[in-house]
Every structure is written in C-alpha cells, then in structure tokens.
C-alpha cells in the first residue's frame, strides 16, 4: 500500500523531505476531533435540562451519548485523514460496513423510526443510527471518489474550467428536457392513480413555493438584489385578500389583481428609499422591513386581528360556482354544474390547477421579461452597476421595477395562500419563510427556472414526504441547505442562456474554454 501512496503524490510533494508521516498526521487530527466533539457535546448533549413546574431547573445526564460520539466520530475523521493521504481502502471498507450496520442489519433500522417519534427525548437510538449511518456514508463516498480519481493528480485550471463548462452544458440540456417534462407531469398527475388527494394537497404547497421562488428569482437571480424580506409581500397579498373578502365580500378572482397591484405598490414604497443601498445593506434592510410588517400584523389588532389573524376568508370558487355540498338559494355549485357527485377533493384539485397556472404565468412572464430591455438591464445591473450608470441606465428605476414585479407575484401567491387556508395569521409570515424562498432560488441555481422548481420540490416536497421525521424535520431541512450548498455552491442547475443569439446554437459548442 505504501507504494501506491508514493505513486499518487505529485513529484514536488514526494521530494519534500520532512513531511510528517501520514499516520502521524491522521492520529493528530483524530485526537483533535475527539477533543472537539467532547467540547461540543459535554454540556449540550451530556445534560438535558428540564424545567420543573416552570420554576427551577433539573437535569438528566446522557453521558453515554457523549461517549458514543467521542468514540465514533474521530474514527470517521481518522479514516478521512488516511484517505486524504492517499490510503482510501480503510475508509472504503470500514465506511461501507459501518453504513450497513447503522442502517440495517445490526440494529433498529431507519424504517422503524416512527416508533420513536412520540417519545419526548431526542437522539433516540434510531436517530443516532441515522446520523452515524449518514456519517459512514460520507466516509464511504469520499473513499470511492478518491479511488476513482486516483492517479490523476490535481486538476489543472483549464481542466477545471472545461469541467465547469461541461457541467453548464449538461445543466442546459437537462433543463431543456426537464422543463416540459415537469410541466406535463404536473398537468396530468391528478388524473393518474398516484394523484390522490393527499399528494395533490402537498403539491399545492410545493407549487406555491415554486411560484414564490420564481417571483424572488426576478429580484435576486436576475437583478441581483438580495432580498431577505420577500415574505412581507406575500403577507401583503394574503392580508389584502383576507380584508377584501371579509370586509367587502369580494371573491378571489376579483381580489387577485388588486392584491398583486397592492403588493407591487408596497414593493415600490419600501424599495424607493432603500434600493440605492448596496448588497448586504439592502439585505438587512429588507429583513428589517419583513419583520416590521410582521410586528405590525401582530399588533394592529383592529385591522389585522392581531396574533389570531383573520378567519373565514372566502373559499375559492370555480369562477363563481362554489365547491360546496349545498349552496345558498339560487347559486349553482360546482358539482351541480357538471353533474358530478359532490366530493371535497374537487376543491383541492381545482386549487392545484389554479396554483399551477399562476406559477406558470410567473415563469413565462420571467422568461419574456429577460429578453426585453428591462430584463437585460437587470442582469447588467447585477453584473456591474457602475458600468450601467455610464451607459445611461437609471439604476434606481430599474431596480424598483424588479422589486415591484417580484412583489406582485408574491402578492398573487399570498392571496392564493389566503383562499386556500381560509385563514391568515402573522405566524405564516416569519423570517424563516423568506429564508426558505431565498434558499430555493440559490439552491436551484440563480436565474435557472427549472433549477428553482427542482429546489422547491427538494426542499418543500421531501420534508412533506418524510413526515415521519417529525421532530427532526427542520434539522434535516437546515442540514440539507448546508449540504447542497457545499456540494453545489452555484446551485443545482446553474447555467445562463444568452437572451439573444447571433449565431445558431448548434453551430458552436458552448465551451468557453475554446475561445482564444
């Protein structure tokens, strides 16, 4: 094994004489990791505090968990350290075996997770298994990767650029295929045997986030304005419809445009003073505005109903025909109109198609806007604001348009949310929502429409599907945000298609490395 190690080294490294032995380095790292894990865990994991009658604290110890962590995590670290030194086989074997052990054979498998979900104490055996299992998988995967790339040495810059270009090209081709496939699948899904009510209901949620993601993509992906308070416009849309419905008795279809315009107006009003700020300042101010709107919603009892929100908001109708078993005198219901048996699912399916259409409108509007002068100006502004000013482009107005249009789509989505729930409260519009929507945009690959849809399915759909995770759901959500970013810092599908082409695409390959 020592021979192979030598081969893998770059010539320059082999000459470096006083390099410490690989084993020593690995042992050092292992000890460091053990100490670190101990420090991290000794109080937070080792002691569980409990409030007795809400008065004083008592605790239970969980030292065994700390010990397990201190024992197992450094082993993983050791294996990874060896792998980095060129010895991948131990990592491969131990990682693989450990993975099999933690996930199946030797213990409570992951499948029986839901047995534990009612227990009050976290980090039950099953969860520990899952966490260690994933860790083992990481070790195993790293080993496989280094074995596959072994002997290639470090990749040169042109090689990396070429790989980057290949990836972009792949993303482009994938998007071209995947876009229509996803849309077609979305359209026919409710008619297939899999499209039961529960799934469709979950998909309504996913599509809402797809729409919000596409809306925010205009602001963040195209115009490059970091907006951490996007949920504010969603809230404005939702409350606008809630008020219009409960106070004036307007229907969803009548309110939808009003809510959109109202949100856009809000976008302009908020954006005007702050859009001259650069980058991160804008982020914090938008975050502040988002929080301010939420605080106002909580405290302005008379208008917003305070923390309790507004209830009995008008349900969606089939363009005037309600989805009800029995309608008021003189009103035809949906099932009567079509001579169907009444079913509560009709409304769900209809909501599904409404949000699908709204989302697709957002999508097509974005695609169209990109190719208009305003869209190009957004992208130019994202690239270099100074150059834009030199070209006579009004930065404030251009940004304001992006902000307003993004806000408008959030307003549409907001009023859809209100009619779907029949109830709005400030709880639905916390910062975490803004963070989720922004993550969808960034994880999807900024500016990529298909990427945003994929990210929404991944981030919203998967946790919906894995309800058994219960308490661990948000933990998994946050961890996957970190992991996807580490794995694909530029997002899942990141590529950029020029908005105008002089030469037909197939004549030239899209590899930027070939120029020169």
């Amino acid at each position: 094994m020592a021979d192979t190690t030598m081969e893998k080294r770059l010539p320059g490294e082999a000459v470096a004489s006083k390099a410490p032995s690989p084993l020593l380095v690995a042992v050092k790292e292992t000890i460091f990791t053990a100490v670190l894990v101990f420090l991290l865990g000794v109080l937070m994991v080792g002691f569980q505090t409990q409030a007795i009658q809400g008065q004083y604290l008592s605790f239970v110890t969980r030292f065994d968990d700390v010990l397990w962590a201190v024992a197992i995590v450094p082993i993983g670290r050791f294996l990874l350290a060896l792998d980095r030194q060129g010895q991948s086989w131990p990592a491969l074997i131990v990682g693989g075996l450990a993975f099999l052990y933690f996930f199946g054979a030797g213990s409570t498998g992951v499948m029986e997770l839901d047995v534990y979900k009612t227990l009050p104490l976290p980090f039950e055996e099953a969860m520990v298994n899952v966490i260690f299992g994933l860790g083992a998988l990481l070790v195993f995967g790293t080993a496989i990767k280094s074995l596959r790339t072994a002997g290639q040495g470090r990749r040169t810059l042109p090689a990396r650029e070429a790989a980057e270009a290949r990836r972009a090209n792949f993303a482009r081709r994938l998007s071209v295929v995947l876009g229509p496939v996803l849309v077609a699948a979305a359209v026919v899904l409710p008619w297939t045997p899999w499209g039961d009510r529960q799934l469709v209901d979950s998909l309504v949620l996913v599509l809402t986030y797809v729409m919000l993601g596409w809306g925010l993509n205009i602001v963040v992906g195209l115009a490059g304005l970091l907006d951490l308070g996007y949920v504010a416009f969603y809230a404005v849309g939702a409350y606008t419809y809630a008020k219009l419905s409960t106070e004036l008795g307007l229907t969803f279809w009548e309110s939808l445009p009003i809510a959109g315009i109202f949100s856009a107006a809000f976008g302009v009003a908020l954006g005007f003073p702050v859009l001259r700020l650069r980058g991160d300042y804008l982020a914090i101010v938008t975050l502040g505005f988002g929080e301010m709107i939420r605080i106002v919603l909580i405290n302005w009892q008379a208008f917003t109903g305070g923390p309790n929100g507004i209830g009995s908001i008008g349900k969606i109708t089939f363009f005037g025909f309600p989805f009800e078993r029995k309608a008021a005198e003189g009103v035809t219901t949906f099932h009567e109109l079509f001579g169907l048996q009444f079913s509560g699912s009709h409304r769900v399916y209809f909501l599904y198609y409404v949000i699908l259409v709204l989302a697709l409108i957002t999508n097509f509007a974005t695609i169209r806007l990109r190719k208009l002068p305003i869209g190009r100006a957004w992208e130019a502004l994202r690239e270099d604001e100074t150059a834009c000013r030199a070209l006579g482009i009004n930065p404030t107005n251009t940004k304001l348009t992006a902000f307003a249009i993004g806000a408008m789509f959030a307003g549409f989505a907001g009023s859809f949310f209100a009619t779907r729930q029949g109830f709005v409260s400030p709880e639905s519009f916390t910062f975490i929502e803004s963070a989720v929507i922004l993550s969808i945009v960034v994880l999807g690959g900024m500016g990529s429409q298909v990427g945003v849809a994929l990210a929404a399915i991944l981030l919203i759909g998967l946790p919906e599907a894995l309800r058994e995770l219960a308490l661990y759901r948000m933990l998994a959500f946050g961890a996957s945000m970190v992991l996807i970013m580490l794995w694909r810092p530029k997002g899942l599908l990141s590529y950029r298609e020029p908005t105008i082409l002089l030469h037909a695409r197939n004549k030239k390959p899209m590899v930027s490395g070939t120029v020169k």
């Binding site: 806007l369 305003i374 130019a380 834009c388 348009t401």
Partner: protein, 276 residues
Amino acid sequence: MNAALQQMTEPAMPLLTVEHLTMRFGGLVAIDDASFVAQHREITGVIGPNGAGKTTLFNCITGFYKPTVGRLTLAAADRPPMLLEQMEGFKIGQQASVARTFQNVRLFTGMSVLENLMVAQHNKLMRASGYTFLGLLGLPSFNRAERVARDLAVHWLDRIGLTHLADEPAGSLPYGDQRRLEIARAMCTEPVLLCLDEPAAGLNPRESAELNTLLRSIRDELGIGILLIEHDMSVVMGTCDHIVVLDYGRKIADGSPSEIRSDPAVIRAYLGEEEE
C-alpha cells in the same frame, strides 16, 4: 476637413468646455482649477504623470463625482448646451450622450458579447418597448426596434472584428478584445462625446496600431469628439489633434502634439527637474 463644412455644421461653441474645475477629497486636491475645451470632430488627449487627476477629471465629466467647483458645458450640435456638473450620474449618459470606458475594463462579464452591446442601447429600446408593457405583448414595432439595435451591434462587432464571438460570455474574451468591446459598447450608445480611459493599456504594439485606426475612423466618419486619457505616446501622438497636460491636478500645458512635445513644463513634469 474643409472650412465650408465646418461652418455649416459646427455651432459656435466647442463640444465640451471645462471651466475652473476643482475637485477636492477632504484635504486632497485632485484637480485644481483646470480649464480647457474639447472641440467637435477632434481627439483631445489628456496626459500627465500618474496621480495627475486624469481619471478624476473623467469621473467629474461623466457624473461619478460632483465637482467641488467649476462648470462643465456640453454643446452638442442638435440640442441646447447642458451643464454636466448639475446632472445626476446616469443622465449624463442618457440625455447628454456622453459615453465612457474604464481604466480597468468594466464589461458585463457573465453576459454575452452581443448582449453587452444590446444593454448599451437600453434607453432607446426601453422607449420602443413602451417601457416594457408593449414589449411584453410582443408588438411588431418593438421587434423592429430590436432588430435595428441588433444591426447596430453587429456593425460595431464587425468593426472590431469580434462578430464570430458574439455569443460568447464577454468575460471569456482575451484582454485586448475586451478593451475593444468596451469601446464598441460605448459607441452603441451613439454618443456625441466619447471618453476613453487608457484604452491602450495592456495592448501589444499591433493592437495599439489597430486602436489608432479605430479611433481616427470614429472621429472622421461619425464626427464625434473623443476625450482620451493615455500613457502610450504612440497612441497619443498618432491620434490626438489637441493635448491637455495635467500635473498634480493643474493644467500645465495645452496645445497641438508638436507644441506639447517641445513644451518645457511638460518635459519637466515627465522627466523631473534637472538639478544644477
């Protein structure tokens, strides 16, 4: 250029009149009471040692800085004179038709070469797209305007020889091409005054010579004024009709290339004072 033509088209005023321009940053005086004029159909060179205030001068003219004191009058043929120092930054490009390039090239690197040139025609296309509303509907009038804009872009791509790279990301071009593309982008705004900040920096001799030809042809064919900051004397002497020399923010000389070449103050500024 014959005198008859000059009389016919040229208004009485020079294209750009800089009067008593002073720019202070805190205690530092970057430009100190500089006055000069740039004529129509002429290339006016601005030279001087490093730190003489040349780029600051450009930033004042193109609205990135507000001058502490002074007046900048732009008198284009077809419109009333404008006072640049009173205009908001982007309006100098939008309304006064002053275009510029930057010392360190500022392209939209992620966008394609052609897109860079389309963005330059933003204001024209915005009007044609009915401020986006009509464009969303895809009206033929907008499509026509877009085609015209594309043709102008292609015209300039042909002139700088980058047509075959039109769909490549601007950032992937070699440095010399990026410099020329930036000039083409400025020209796509259809300016009356073009300000070039060291366009020859980093170019090899062959590229510099090509640049000379390009600048002279812009002047002769389009009849616009060019303001040129440059260290490369082959470019300056080869193209400029008129040269202004700055040193420590003050104007120390102003005249034709041959006058400048023999001006003792200029020689002192460049070579230093001889000690006796």
